[in-house]
């Protein structure tokens, strides 16, 4: 079963330690008197990093990070504060405990024997407890075992009551994200509609948090499931592929079997495409576990007790995937009426309130941001003095001539004053690049090469031109052989490079005294030498440079 970790409710019990909840992780860090406050901060940072790097399954990484941190910390600083975490892993949860922290499973009634329940204690381990578990049926209680203080003030029965999905408190009132003081937290239980939808990029903090697990909200599988008549179009190829790979453990058989069964069940109600059964993605199967599922289905947790899942499919309702309304849940809205399945399942618009409330009044758009204030000459000078370069790519390394003009290391005479360059031993200095030559167009116009250019019929259509990183040279060509973005002239060090930008009819070059044109491969970098003729479409231009290269 694939469960969206961040949709699982968590409830805080009072206490003085730190409770943490971040995408994919819940954790507790003890703050006993005398512990190093920096250690808690360090730990928080580790947890946050792991959560950021792999918010969907930080379990393994987190365990590794925490172990490393712990061994280092204990080597240098002595005993670390106790801490524990429950984090999402690929197929369940990863539990990491150190010190006086325990994780125990709580279920509302005694459906499972106490032996089968999870019970892990950090202080029982020589170093740490590090486990991977499948999703338990009940809720996990992650607490600091403050026996001495008697702070563990959750009575057994109260905890059990809390552990039921329909506890005394609405789930949306739980702990969703952040750091808070507390003595422990109750994590879970997992209900079916917390199953992760196959669309992977649903943000962890989507409306489902607010809505709580008990409310049939769009992030649940219902919204994405194969709602007859409408949702078939939703299931894109990517959706299918992802769902199939995700649901490997579930295997396609029960899913298709169920789907077929569903199809039969509503054969009279809604038209269902013949092939839909095969296309039903596994999430529907996950959702379908609320439908009386074959008990033999693997990986499906043991059917929870008490009318949680034993909801009969609404006869002829055509809404087979609506999460089951748990009995007795006070805040659960009634199941959507049979006649309006689509309406009930349509995702809310962003502006729409999920709970009732006054509609947001429309307001005028904000004024555009004020333009950045122009730099004064003084500020510019200060920046320059501090070594800030406006455009670092405009700087090149070269040799200075004896009169301090920057030159290509390969030239023999200074480009500005004509002095011989071999008078000075070369010390490379970096300075703003001087113009490297010019393009002489066939109509006589010239472009001094002090920047990168895009040549074409409509060079403004190039993204880099719109961003302002390349400058456009628009050429007119009636023959139609010139592409909109045809070629690029790029300054690279002291070289001028010609690049064909995948033009339809190609870019051709010919050396000074050559008659034959040579076609450039697209995106190939061709270093122009002075006198090289270039042809784009029916237009030609010549590259010239005054660089005094002896060869």
């Amino acid at each position: 079963m694939k469960v969206n970790f961040d949709d699982v409710p968590a409830r805080v019990h009072p206490g003085r330690h730190h409770l943490v909840r971040l995408p994919g992780v819940v954790a507790i860090i003890r703050t006993d008197p005398g512990t190093d406050p920096d250690a808690a901060n360090d730990l928080l940072e580790r947890i946050q990093t792991s959560s950021r790097t792999a918010p969907t399954a930080p379990g393994r990484d987190l365990a590794r990070q925490l172990s490393i941190w712990l061994s280092r910390f204990e080597e240098t600083n002595g005993v670390a504060p106790g801490f524990g975490s429950i984090s999402a892993s690929e197929n369940g949860v990863a539990i990491f405990l150190y010190g006086d922290i325990s994780v125990t499973e709580r279920v509302a009634d005694a459906a499972t024997s106490p032996e089968e329940r999870v019970a892990l204690f950090g202080k029982d381990a020589a170093f740490t407890v590090d486990r991977l578990l499948p999703w338990p049926a009940g809720a996990l209680q992650l607490i600091a075992d403050d026996d001495a203080d008697g702070e563990l003030d959750i009575p057994e029965h109260a905890a059990d009551a809390l552990a039921s999905a329909d506890g005394p408190m609405p789930a949306w009132a739980g702990f969703h994200r952040g750091v808070t003081p507390g003595g422990g937290l109750l994590f879970g239980p997992v209900t079916d509609h917390m199953s992760e939808p196959a669309v992977a990029d649903v943000p962890a903090t989507s409306g489902s948090h607010l809505a709580g697990p008990d409310v049939p909200v769009p992030s649940g599988p219902g919204a994405h499931g194969p709602v007859p008549g409408s949702s078939a179009t939703l299931s894109s190829a990517a959706y299918d592929a992802e769902a199939m790979s995700d649901g490997e453990a579930m295997a396609a058989e029960p899913a298709s079997g169920e789907a077929v069964a569903d199809g039969e069940a509503m054969a009279d109600g809604e038209p269902m495409a013949e092939g839909a059964g095969a296309q039903v993605p596994p999430p529907s199967a996950a959702a379908g576990s609320s439908v009386p599922a074959p008990p033999s289905a693997r990986a499906v947790p043991p059917p929870p007790p008490s009318g949680r899942s034993v909801v009969p499919p609404a006869p002829s309702a055509g809404t087979p995937v609506v999460p089951p309304p748990p009995t007795g849940a006070p805040v659960v809205p009634p199941p959507p009426s049979a006649g309006t399945p689509a309406a009930a399942l349509a995702p809310p618009r962003l502006s729409e309130l999920i709970q009732d409330g006054p509609p947001e009044p429309p307001r005028a758009p904000l004024p555009p941001a004020a333009p950045a204030p122009r730099q004064t000459a003084q500020q510019k000078a200060a920046e320059k003095a501090a070594g800030v370069k406006e455009r670092p790519q405009d700087y090149v390394q070269g040799f200075r001539c004896s009169r301090k003009h920057l030159n290509d290391p390969r030239v023999s005479f200074c480009r500005v004053c004509g002095i011989r360059m071999d008078q000075m031993t070369g010390v490379l200095v970096e300075e703003r690049r001087p113009p490297l030559g010019l393009l002489v167009l066939d109509v006589g116009a010239t472009f001094v090469l002090d920047d990168n250019y895009v040549l074409g019929r409509n060079p403004e259509s190039d993204a880099a031109v719109r961003e302002g990183t390349l400058r456009p040279v628009r050429l007119d060509d009636t023959s139609g052989a010139l592409s909109r973005v045809h070629a690029e002239i790029r300054l690279s060090g002291w070289d001028v490079v010609l690049i064909d930008r995948g033009s339809a009819n190609g870019t051709y070059v010919a050396a000074t005294d050559e008659q034959s044109w040579q076609r450039l491969a697209p995106n190939q970098h061709f270093v122009l030498t002075p006198g090289t003729h270039v042809r784009v479409g029916q237009r030609t231009f010549t590259f010239e440079s005054s660089a005094a290269r002896l060869r």
């Binding site: 500005v416 002095i419 011989r420 002489v440 006589g444 010239t446 001094v448 006198g531 005094a548 060869r551």
Partner: protein, 522 residues
């Protein structure tokens, strides 16, 4: 420009092993221990020549023919082949390989005997009767019926290449940049070479030698201030160009649309640029308009007296003979050798000034341009340059005899090839500062008749120099093929007197010529 201000020496406070130490930089005469302390490896060799251009090549050629083995000579250079710089400068100033040079052809750097001449060689290499007869007819009838004969640039280069391979010149070449030459306590010199990065274990290598020859040629061009200012201020390298740098784009653009060009200067390069402009104009039927600006404008023959006159006209001063014959002929040579100090400077002044060999082809082109109105010449000096309206073209502000004037042009081609001060070369500046070298009346390196740099002797070693950095010495025309050969011969003879090499008598000379003629190694 820089006057006598020393260039800042890069004496890094922390020196790595094998680099120059402050001690070395500050000491004029180095001991072997000081060099060893700095960790610079020392390579002993009898003769070092610095530069590696045609000057070095000609000197090595003489010494090899005189009998010095290639292992006793080291050429320190950054060039691949001796004519690399020369070929570059002639090519960009519109004399590619198939064009004829504008200097005299009475000597050839690949042949110390000067026989056979370029004209004879060209005739004998001819593939048709006309090609055979033309060079010979030319040299028989010049300068009355025809202009002086000059070789094609390509012929000079390819014959030098042949000679280079014959004498095994490349065996002696060591690549790198020469940083300085200093005298050695106990005689001889240390020449510090910076090899290309990564080519050697240490940053510097010291060549310890008895004799050093410096032929580093022009320290460089000196583009005029107004031109430099325009380039740096407007970051526009395209409209104002110097004739000694690649400026093919000017001809490219003129071929595409008509334009006006201002040519500044009246030397050989100006004549060549004009010829290219007008050749293109005729060939492509262009509408190019040309304005030539002379700083000194000659309206006719000029000179101090009837025996020292030079033809001129339309602004140009023509050479009586081709350079260097025009400054090197019998009496003049004798007279110059005797002059010293101000008198020599005065003599240089009299024969100096920009001048140009007389050639019928381009002078006829100019005449045609004058009559058709697309070529004008005027006298004036540039004050400033600025971009024209809307960034098109250039506006040149000039001062003339008739007051200030502004001229618009699409391009300005500057043909004034001023040479930089010798101090702009680090090696020469170091010689002036630390090795006792001085300046001659023309401001260049002061050499005696044997081309030894006066004041730098480190007994028993000697330091020689030749080429354009010694212009202004007792021999004029040192910056020509012939001048380089004369100086190489003087140096070789001086070394023979010192016993470094045996004199080349008539018998050995003839034998060596035969080897040359049959292209046999020495």
């Amino acid at each position: 420009m820089s006057g006598d201000q020393p260039l800042p020496q890069s004496a890094a406070p922390t020196t790595e092993p094998g680099d120059l130490t402050p001690e070395l930089i500050d000491t004029d005469i180095w001991t072997d221990e000081m060099v060893a302390r700095a960790g610079i490896p020392v390579v002993p060799v009898p003769f070092v020549t610095v530069g590696g251009g045609i000057g070095s090549f000609v000197t090595v050629d003489y010494l090899r023919i005189y009998g010095v083995p290639a292992q006793q000579i080291v050429v320190l250079t950054g060039l691949d082949v001796p004519w690399q710089s020369y070929e570059y400068l002639t090519r960009v100033s519109q004399i590619p390989r198939n064009e004829r040079l504008r200097s005299d052809s009475q000597s050839r750097p690949d042949n110390i005997w000067g026989f056979p001449s370029y004209a004879l060689s060209e005739a004998f290499a001819a593939k048709s009767l006309k090609e055979f007869v033309w060079p010979l007819w030319n040299v028989f009838t010049e300068p009355i019926l025809t202009n002086y004969f000059t070789p094609r640039a390509g012929q000079a280069f390819s014959s030098m290449e042949k000679e280079m391979n014959r004498i095994g010149y490349l065996q002696s070449v060591r690549k790198g940049q020469v940083r300085m030459v200093r005298r050695r306590a106990g005689g001889g010199y240390y020449t510090i070479l910076t090899p290309p990065a990564g080519a050697a274990q240490t940053k510097r290598i010291a060549y310890q030698s008895q004799y050093v020859h410096i032929a580093i040629g022009y320290p460089g061009l000196r583009l005029l201030k107004d031109l430099q200012d325009y380039r740096e201020r407007y970051r526009d390298p395209t409209k104002v160009v110097n004739a000694y740098e690649p400026h093919e784009q000017v001809y490219d653009q003129l071929r595409i649309r008509p334009g006006k060009v201002i040519v500044r200067g009246g030397g050989i390069v100006a004549s060549r640029v004009l010829q290219r402009l007008i050749d293109d104009r005729d060939k492509y039927n262009l509408q190019t308009e040309i304005l030539q600006v002379f700083r000194t404008f000659y309206t006719g023959p000029h000179g101090k007296d009837i025996f020292n006159r030079r033809p001129g006209g339309h602004g140009w001063a023509y050479q009586g003979f081709n350079y260097p014959k025009s400054v090197w002929g019998g009496q003049l040579k004798e007279k110059m050798a005797k002059l010293e100090g101000d008198a020599r400077a005065q003599a240089y002044e009299e024969m100096g000034g920009t001048n140009t060999p007389f050639r019928k082809n381009w002078l006829e082109q100019l005449k045609r341009g004058r009559s058709q109105g697309w070529y004008r010449e005027m006298q004036g000096a540039f004050d400033s340059l600025r971009p024209g309206p809307n960034g098109a073209g250039v506006v040149v502000a000039m001062s003339t005899q008739h007051g200030a004037l502004e001229e618009y042009a699409d391009f300005v081609v500057d043909c004034t090839g001023l040479e930089a001060d010798i101090r702009e070369s680090r090696v020469l500046a170091d010689l002036l500062d630390h090795s006792g070298a001085g300046r001659n009346p023309k401001g260049r390196l002061d050499v005696n008749k044997q081309f030894e740099v006066i004041g730098t002797r480190s007994r028993p070693g000697r330091l020689y120099a030749s080429g354009s950095s010694t212009l202004g010495g007792p021999f004029p025309g040192v910056d020509t093929f012939l001048g380089l050969q004369i100086s190489a011969q003087e140096i070789a003879d001086d070394l023979a007197r010192l016993g470094f090499v045996k004199r080349l008598g008539p018998g050995r000379s003839i034998a060596q010529w035969w080897r040359w003629a049959r292209n046999r190694p020495i």
